[in-house]
């Protein structure tokens, strides 16, 4: 751990990243270490390939989508700040986060942002709504082969219907938030080590 300071010095713009993401110095150092480990040929950014090589991600039904979430707007590379920005969604909510002054932008790990991260995994066409089709696709990924297509469609129908309040046959982000309002999202979308 003695090498912390030297590591931290390696990271460009440490302070601005810290301010934006709220990560601690130690976390940033660890993440930077990981970032460089993932960046196989030391190009300074990660490509989709770099993330796809993580073995367990290939098995993860949502792996592809999560990889995609690191590359907003169809870009081909993600630099360290972008990498950290995505991961910042999973920083646990701490007490000092809650009483921030309202002028500051909402921290990335707020409930809303956590939910929004999950939401955009569903919302493939980025129209702000989870359509029945999109729901069906997610279900297909998650449920696997055991359930027939027809059953899946029924589930998708019902899921959309359940959350859909304005009757447009799709789940908007607001409805998405509402359907999860009883869930402890702050807890379920946080990873302890990402302080």
């Amino acid at each position: 751990m003695g090498s912390r300071s030297s590591h931290a010095a390696v990271i460009p713009n440490v302070d601005s990243i810290r301010r934006e993401t709220g990560f601690s110095q130690a976390s940033l150092v660890r993440l930077h270490h990981r970032f460089r480990a993932l960046d196989r040929n030391k190009k300074g950014y990660l490509s989709r390939m770099d993330l796809q090589q993580i073995g367990a991600l290939a098995v993860n039904p949502l792996g592809d989508r999560i990889i995609e979430s690191f590359f907003p707007n169809g870009s081909q590379r993600v630099d360290f700040p972008g990498f950290v920005r995505v991961l910042a969604h999973f920083r646990p909510v701490e007490d000092e986060d809650t009483d921030q002054d309202p002028k500051k932008p909402e921290p990335l790990n707020s409930r809303r942002n956590k939910l929004h991260y999950a939401f955009q995994l569903y919302d493939l066409d980025r129209d702000g709504k989870i359509s029945r089709h999109e729901m069906l696709q997610v279900l297909r990924l998650m449920v696997g082969v055991q359930v027939t297509e027809e059953q899946l469609e029924n589930i998708a129908d019902r899921t959309v219907q359940e959350a859909d309040e304005d009757g447009d046959g799709a789940v908007s982000f607001l409805e998405f938030t509402k359907s999860l309002e009883k869930m402890d999202v702050e807890q379920k979308m946080s990873i302890r080590i990402l302080k």
């Binding site: 999973f90 999950a118 055991q146 009883k182």
Partner: protein, 895 residues
């Protein structure tokens, strides 16, 4: 009642302890003559007493729960202990000596296992493993801490001279006492916390701790006990090491035994396909075997049975039939609650026996203070440590509840009774202290914890219904977290859980679940499936309001009245029966109300209770044939359901024609399902709310697969509300029997005043039009694996478009107005019809007209019953290929 039982109990002064295993000795002396009456108390004594005690306990429970006020304030365990005290006092007064105490043998072998199995089996496993770290810390470190500090502090108290010198105990004795008094008791904790409803995390931590600390308690107790017996001078350093090692052996060994038996149990239930009836038994037997095996090997039996229940549940639940699941659940709960009740009562009784204990105020007070103090201190220290690692830290309020919730109970008492007086001279003092501690924690803390929780505003557990969205998103979150851990490169909890789930899915489930169960095993599907069942049940229970609230519009909404297309004329034309004698009838557009009457009537017919119907005798032991008991139950249920529907109708009716709600989304789906049937049949789709009632059908998906076995016994058609499409022959045969036997025993052959709707009854049923109630809208509720069959049924119904000729005349019996032409109808009855098929008891006719009279239904239904049987028969025209729809509403899945 209690008094009576008591006096019976007091009778046998010989009073053997109620050891269920005790063989009744036969007292059979040869008697000279034939005795008219012989009193053989001793032959039945032991089991009789056991049964009586349980009976007393159960009756006491009933009495407690007569008053809601009392049980809401006082935990049941307190009441039971107090009752035990009273009973013990009475027994003591009558028998002049203490009887029926809590025997450690009985407790450990018979009373404890059901409780632990129940808690292990129904443990929320996800929650448990999410908090495993905290639970293990509190269970292991906490218990060790409590034992040593309490023991040492008591020893210090003695050294300080605050304990009377007659308490002869050394440091080891106090440590032994500390080890048995320190463990939080699962029975007591469960009894109190189940009523308190704190939030899940807090509950699982306290409760999990109480279960898992058994291993530590057992080890500590055994080690200390053997040290005491060896004498402190002879204890070598290696013995300490052995003591530490035995901690691991006992706990890990116990867990291993439990997991092995869980594996066996899961594997066994995989092959019980043809002997469903023993499935529940297997669960209990193997779990008990796990307990006994661990006990035999002096491992932690509680841990073994907990792990067994925890481990096997997923696979067992998937393998066994739904009925078995219900049986397991209920039996387990019954046994556990029985055992718990008896334990607390016997605890109370045992406390009365003053011969067993000796009082020392210093010791008692010291112990009480120390256990409270050190528990609190231990919790604070450990929580502080744990919070460094926890995502959601346990706050101060949680810590207070955890400290205060450290209830001691019967385990401590049983252990202290087991002490050897020759080796532990202070046993009597320890017994007294234990009793006081147990009573104090159960009664005082049990009484006050609820107000405390309220006062501290501890986060309560909130029960919300599972929704598909939550389930789906929760899975999404899990996957996201696992993926993020991968990206971050930290193999944490989520990573390992994900790995375990993959392993489980790939290998373990394949091995331990029968293929059919494995295929349909998915949590999201499960939730979907359960939601459907719940909807169906609540629809039936509440008359449909729930469905509309979940987004399914009630079919009975008049909005979809397409009156024109459903007019009788169309119907007649399309059905191809030109024999309409009453011209007035033809163009009458019948009101929705009449239609609903008719539909209701059919539902009645379908759901009538037929008490005397004969079934094939079946006497297989390996499965419970549905014929005998099941169907009767179902019929009773159908009746209830029908009654509710009727009352619902009466309320719904009024708004029926005022509301008009467009139903944009339903139409598309409806088409593919029933449109055809509709078109050809000309059936009114908007027949009424029965649509949904009849349609929400959920069938255990296994059925489909098992049906391919073509063995009826495999059918698990016991879930939810099920449509059974039955071959005509079968139903009609039944109908024939009942019809010929019972049709209209009453002289009323021609109905005095049948309404229009009622008259159309036979016609309706003749066309199998129940299918029409099955609106396609609900196909979305039909489990998908049933949909093929469903669609087939639908198309087979289409073929019914033209009814057999002999039904035609009855069609003409529709008067233009419900109560218009009753008299002219009589001649219209086909003379060829040998039976008075349209006999309507007056009461029924009345009911048909006035909807509000739903209260008077039961007798009416029974009067209807002959009619029903007959109806079936009427349409038994040779060569009819009607498939008859038999609606079976089953609410088995309610639980």
């Amino acid at each position: 009642m209690l008094r009576a039982a008591l006096s019976l109990l007091a009778l046998p002064l010989a009073g053997a302890a109620e050891e269920p295993t005790q063989k009744p000795e036969s007292q059979g002396e040869p008697l000279p003559g034939l005795e008219l009456f012989r009193w053989q108390w001793h032959e039945v004594e032991a089991p009789y007493l056991v049964a009586l005690w349980i009976l007393v306990a159960s009756l006491a429970k009933i009495v407690f729960h007569l008053s809601r006020k009392v049980t809401s304030l006082v935990p049941e365990s307190c009441l039971l202990i107090l009752l035990g005290l009273v009973l013990g006092g009475i027994v003591l007064a009558v028998a002049k000596k203490a009887e029926y105490q809590l025997e450690p043998g009985t407790f450990f072998l018979f009373l404890l296992p059901p409780i632990v199995l129940d808690s292990g089996y129904f443990m929320p496993s996800r929650l448990f493993f999410d908090n495993l770290g905290a639970i293990l810390t509190y269970a292991v470190v906490g218990t060790l801490w409590n034992a040593f500090t309490t023991g040492a502090a008591l020893w210090g108290l003695q050294q300080a001279g605050l304990v009377a010198p007659r308490v002869q105990a050394g440091l080891l004795d106090f440590l032994l006492f500390g080890s048995l008094i320190s463990a939080v008791d699962p029975v007591a904790v469960l009894a109190v916390f189940e009523e308190v409803h704190v939030n899940e995390t807090l509950f699982i931590i306290v409760f999990g701790e109480s279960l898992l600390n058994d291993a530590v308690t057992v080890v500590l107790y055994k080690v200390c006990n053997s040290f005491v017996e060896m004498g402190s001078a002879n204890v070598q350093a290696t013995d300490y090491l052995k003591g530490v090692a035995s901690l691991f052996v006992v706990s890990l060994g116990g867990a291993a035994v439990g997991l092995v038996f869980a594996f066996l149990l899961a594997l066994t239930t995989r092959f019980t396909k043809r002997v469903r009836i023993i499935e529940p038994l297997l669960v209990f037997l193997l779990a008990y075997a796990a307990y006994l095996t661990a006990e035999m090997a002096s491992l932690s039996a509680i841990l073994a049975v907990t792990m067994c229940g925890l481990g096997c549940k997923k696979y067992v639940e998937a393998n066994i039939s739904h009925k078995s699941r219900t049986t397991v659940k209920y039996t387990m709960k019954t046994l556990a609650s029985c055992a718990e009740t008896v334990i607390f009562m016997l605890l109370g009784i045992s406390a009365v026996d003053s011969s067993k204990w000796a009082w020392d105020s210093g010791l008692v007070l010291g112990t009480l203070i120390f256990i409270l103090f050190f528990r609190a201190l231990g919790v604070v220290l450990q929580t502080w440590m744990l919070n460094q690692f926890r995502l959601v830290p346990l706050d101060k309020i949680d810590q207070v509840v955890m400290s205060y919730g450290g209830l001691r109970g019967a385990v401590a008492f049983a252990l202290v009774i087991l002490l050897d007086r020759t080796k532990v001279p202070a046993k009597d003092y320890f017994v007294a202290t234990t009793i006081v501690v147990v009573f104090f924690t159960v009664i005082v803390q049990g009484l006050t914890i609820k107000p405390l929780v309220k006062w501290l505003k501890v986060k309560r557990s909130e029960h919300h219904k599972p929704t598909l969205n939550q389930e789906l998103h929760e899975h999404t979150f899990d996957h996201i977290l696992a993926a993020v851990e991968d990206v971050v490169g930290h193999h944490g909890y989520h990573y390992w859980r994900d790995r375990w789930e993959q392993f489980d899915k790939k290998y373990l489930s394949q091995l331990l679940m029968r293929r059919s169960a494995y295929r349909i095993r998915d949590q999201i599907w499960d939730v979907y499936y359960r939601l459907n069942i719940r909807d169906a049940i609540s629809f039936v229970d509440q008359g449909g309001h729930v469905l509309s609230s979940t987004g399914l519009t009630l079919p009975s909404m008049p909005s979809r009245n397409s009156v024109a297309e459903t007019s009788v004329t169309n119907l007649l034309r399309e059905s191809g029966s030109g024999a309409c004698l009453d011209l007035q009838v033809i163009d009458t557009v019948r009101s929705g109300r009449d239609r609903e009457d008719a539909v209701m009537h059919h539902l009645l017919c379908g759901g009538l209770y037929k008490p005397r119907r004969r079934y094939k005798a079946s006497c297989s032991r390996h499965f419970i044939s549905e014929d005998a008991q099941e169907r009767q139950d179902k019929e009773v249920f159908q009746q209830n359901m029908k009654r509710r529907l009727e009352s619902f109708k009466s309320t719904k009716h009024n708004i029926c024609f005022t509301k008009s709600k467009p139903r944009p989304r339903k139409t598309g789906r409806r088409k593919d399902g029933v449109a055809n049937a509709e078109a050809t049949n000309g059936k009114p789709r908007d027949l009424g709310f029965q649509d949904t009632a009849a349609v929400i059908l959920t069938v255990e998906s296994e059925e489909e697969e098992e049906e391919s076995d073509s063995s009826e016994t495999e059918k698990e058609d016991d879930e939810g509300i099920i449509f059974v499409a039955r071959a005509t022959s079968e139903v009609l045969q039944e109908g024939k029997i009942s019809g010929s036997l019972e049709v209209c025993p009453s002289p009323r052959i021609i109905p005095p005043s049948p309404t229009c709707a009622e008259k159309e009854l036979p016609w309706k049923s003749g066309q199998g039009d129940l299918a029409v109630y099955v609106s396609s809208e609900t196909t979305k509720i039909v489990p998908v694996d049933m949909q093929t069959g469903w669609n087939q049924s639908m198309s087979s119904l289409e073929s019914l478009a033209s009814p057999p000729c002999n039904q035609a005349p009855t069609l003409t019996c529709l008067p233009p107005h419900p109560r218009g032409a009753e008299e002219p109808q009589a001649p219209l009855y086909p003379p060829s019809d040998p039976r008075p098929s349209f006999a309507f008891p007056p009461s029924l006719a009345k009911a048909g007209r006035s909807h509000s009279e739903s209260s008077a239904d039961l007798p009416q239904q029974q009067e209807l019953q002959p009619l029903m049987g007959h109806k079936d028969h009427t349409h038994l025209s040779p060569g009819t290929t009607n498939s008859h729809w038999c609606i079976q509403f089953n609410r088995g899945s309610r639980l």
